[in-house]
C-alpha cells in the first residue's frame, strides 16, 4: 500500500493537532473546557454521521437513537461493569441497532429514509420510557462516576481521532469507493458489481457505533439519565445542521461547521434562551439555501472554477499557438 505524500502530511498534522488539543484542560477549565467538551462531542458525532450520510446522500435523523442507546448502555450497567466494558457494550448496541435499521431501510431512499430514522429515535425513546415506568419503578437512571470534564474531554478527543482515522481508512478502501458510487447512482453501483446492501449496512453500523460511544461517554455528565434527554431529537437535527454547514464532501468538512456553530449556539442559548429554537430553524434554512454543499464545498467549487478558468485560458493559448 503506497500512501500519497500529501495524505501523510495531513495525517501527521491532524495527529499533531490532536496532541496539542490534549493539553487544553491543563490551561483552562470551567466554561471554556465545558464548551470544548461540547465541540469535541459534536466533532465526533458529526464526522461519524458524515461517514455514512456524506457519500450516500441518505440523511439520517437516527443520531439521537444511537446516542441514546449508548447513554443507556452506560446507565444500565454502570454499577456492575468497568467503564471500558460499557464502551464496548455501546459499540455493540449501536452497531446492532444500525444493522437492524439498515436492513429495514434497504429499499428506502430520499425522504422515506429520513422519516424512518426520525421515527426510530422517537420509538426507542418511548419504548425505554414504557419499560422503565412498568418494570423499573422510575423514569430515569443515576450514573455516578469519578469522571470530571477533563476526562470526558480526553475521551471525546480520542473518539474523534479514531473516527477520523476510520474515515481516512474507509476513504482509501473499496468500501469507500463503493459508497461514493452508490451516492452517485445506485443502479450503476449494482451493475458494476457493488453489493449495495452490504456496503450501506456496514458503514451505517460503523457510523452508528461511533455515535453510541459518544452517548456512552456523555452519560456521566448528565448523572441522571431520562429517555427525553438521551433520545432528544434535537441531537439528530443539530448533527445534520452542523455537518451540512461544514460540508460532507471531505472528511474534515463537518469539523468546519461544528466549531463555529457550537460556539454561536452556546452564546445564543445563553443570551436568548427563549428564541433558541427559532434562531436554529432560521440557521437551518439559511444553510440549506445559501450553502447547499457547506462551507468546504463552496470553497472547493470556487477554487475549482478558478483552476478551470486558468486551465481553459491555457488551453486556448495552446490552440492559438498551434
Amino acid at each position: 500500500m503506497n500512501i500519497p505524500r500529501n495524505e501523510i502530511l495531513t495525517l501527521g498534522a491532524g495527529l499533531a493537532g490532536a496532541a496539542v488539543l490534549a493539553f487544553l484542560p491543563l490551561v483552562t477549565e470551567g466554561f471554556w473546557l465545558s464548551l470544548s467538551v461540547n465541540i469535541m462531542l459534536y466533532a465526533a458525532i458529526c464526522t461519524a454521521w458524515a461517514l455514512f450520510s456524506g457519500p450516500t446522500h441518505l440523511v439520517s435523523l437516527a443520531s439521537a437513537a444511537f446516542f441514546g442507546v449508548g447513554t443507556y448502555s452506560v446507565a444500565i450497567f454502570v454499577d456492575v461493569l468497568p467503564f471500558p466494558a460499557l464502551i464496548l457494550i455501546a459499540v455493540a448496541a449501536g452497531a446492532l441497532l444500525a444493522i437492524l435499521v439498515g436492513l429495514a431501510t434497504l429499499r428506502l431512499s430520499g425522504v422515506y429514509f429520513v422519516i424512518f430514522t426520525l421515527g426510530l429515535a422517537e420509538l426507542i425513546g418511548q419504548i425505554v420510557t414504557w419499560v422503565q415506568t412498568n418494570f423499573g419503578g422510575a423514569i430515569g437512571l443515576y450514573v455516578f462516576t469519578d469522571f470530571t470534564e477533563t476526562h470526558l474531554y480526553w475521551m471525546l478527543l480520542a473518539l474523534t481521532v479514531v473516527v477520523f482515522l476510520t474515515g481516512w481508512l474507509v476513504n482509501r478502501s473499496r468500501l469507500g469507493l463503493a459508497l461514493r458510487i452508490i451516492g452517485n447512482d445506485e443502479a450503476v453501483a449494482r451493475h458494476v458489481g457493488v453489493d449495495t446492501a452490504r456496503a450501506r449496512i456496514i458503514l451505517f453500523a460503523v457510523s452508528g457505533a461511533f455515535i453510541a460511544v459518544a452517548g456512552a461517554i456523555m452519560a456521566p455528565r448528565y448523572s441522571y439519565i431520562t429517555p427525553d434527554a438521551a433520545f432528544n431529537p434535537m441531537t439528530s437535527f443539530l448533527v445534520v445542521i452542523m455537518a451540512l454547514l461544514g460540508g460532507t464532501r471531505r472528511l474534515w468538512g463537518p469539523l468546519v461547521g461544528v466549531v463555529p456553530f457550537t460556539v454561536v449556539m452556546d452564546f445564543i442559548s445563553g443570551h436568548f434562551p427563549n428564541q433558541t429554537a427559532v434562531i436554529m430553524g432560521l440557521a437551518f434554512l439559511a444553510i440549506v439555501y445559501v450553502l447547499p454543499d457547506g462551507v468546504t464545498g463552496q470553497l472547493e467549487t470556487l477554487f475549482r472554477r478558478r483552476c478551470s478558468l486558468d486551465k481553459s485560458s491555457l488551453a486556448t493559448t495552446a490552440e492559438e499557438g498551434r
Binding site: L177, R180, V188, R190, H191, V192, G193
Partner: protein, 244 residues
C-alpha cells in the same frame, strides 16, 4: 456449434397483465456480436434488464457458460461477468472520468484495485478515445464522451458478455461513424456483445446475426441481411400494406 456462452431459454417477464417478454429463447456464441432489434415497446430493453439482473424473470432460464444467472441480484451477475450500458446514459456525475472507469474495474468480474485499476482505466480511456481527459469531471462532458465513459466502465470489468442498450442512439452522423468503429474494434478483440439498437445501418454493418422481437415475442433470428428482408419483420416495423 460448441456450448453457447449465453442461453436464453423460454424467458418470460410479466408486469401484472402485461407480458413484456413472452417465452423468448435464443443463444449467443462466444465472440458473437448479436443485434437485438424490434419496434419501440417490443421488450428489447426488458430482455437486457433480465440478463443483467435489473429485473428477474417471471419464468424461464438464463445460462451464462452453463451457469444459471436468472433472478440473481444485479451485482452478482456483474461479478459473474455481465456488463452493460444504459439506454439513457448513466455516468457518475461527481467523479472524474478516470474514477468512473475505475468504478467498473474494482467490483466487477475483474476485481482489480489500486495502481492496477488505475492503469487499466487509463488504457481503456485511451481505447475509447479519451486519452488525456482522465481528470475531467464527467458532468462537463459531451453526450458522446459520456457514452464513451460508460463503455469504458463496462469494459473495465472484463465481462464475458457486454450489453449495449441503444449505445448509438442520439449521436450525430460523424459521431455515429466513430461509435460504430469503436464497437467493431471491441468485437474484433473477441468480446461477446449483444446490442439493442434502432440504427439499422449499424445493425447491417456490424452484426452478423440478429434477433428481432415484437410485442414481447421473438419473430425472427438469423443472418442480419435475410432477417431484415423478412416480410414479418418489415411488417412489424412498418405495418401492413393495408394500414398504410
Amino acid at each position: 456449434m460448441s456450448v453457447p456462452l449465453l442461453t436464453i431459454n423460454q424467458v418470460r417477464k410479466a408486469f401484472g397483465g402485461l407480458v413484456a417478454v413472452n417465452d423468448v429463447s435464443f443463444e449467443v456464441a462466444k465472440g458473437e456480436l448479436l443485434g437485438l432489434i424490434g419496434p419501440n415497446g417490443s421488450g428489447k430493453t426488458t430482455m437486457l434488464n433480465l440478463i443483467s439482473g435489473a429485473l428477474s424473470p417471471t419464468s424461464g432460464n438464463i445460462l451464462l457458460s452453463g451457469q444459471p444467472i436468472a433472478g440473481l441480484p444485479a451485482h452478482k451477475i456483474a461479478r459473474i461477468g455481465v456488463a452493460r450500458t444504459f439506454q439513457l446514459v448513466r455516468v457518475l456525475p461527481s467523479m472524474s472520468s478516470l474514477e468512473n472507469v475505475v468504478a467498473g474495474a474494482v467490483f466487477g468480474h475483474n476485481k482489480v484495485w489500486g495502481d492496477e485499476a488505475l492503469t487499466l482505466a487509463r488504457d481503456l480511456l485511451e481505447r475509447v478515445g479519451l486519452k488525456g481527459r482522465e481528470d475531467v469531471p464527467v458532468a462537463a462532458m459531451t453526450y458522446i464522451d459520456q457514452k464513451r465513459i460508460e463503455l469504458a466502465r463496462a469494459l473495465a470489468g472484463n465481462p464475458h458478455i457486454l450489453l449495449l442498450d441503444e449505445w448509438l442512439a442520439g449521436l450525430n452522423p460523424s459521431e455515429l461513424r466513430i461509435g460504430m468503429e469503436l464497437i467493431r474494434e471491441i468485437s474484433a478483440q473477441g468480446r461477446t456483445i449483444i446490442m439493442v439498437e434502432h440504427v439499422m445501418d449499424a445493425i447491417r454493418s456490424l452484426c452478423q446475426r440478429c434477433v428481432v422481437m415484437n410485442s414481447g415475442v421473438k419473430i425472427a433470428d438469423g443472418k442480419s441481411a435475410s432477417v431484415l428482408a423478412d416480410p414479418e419483420v418489415v411488417r412489424a416495423y412498418l405495418g401492413d400494406e393495408d394500414d398504410a
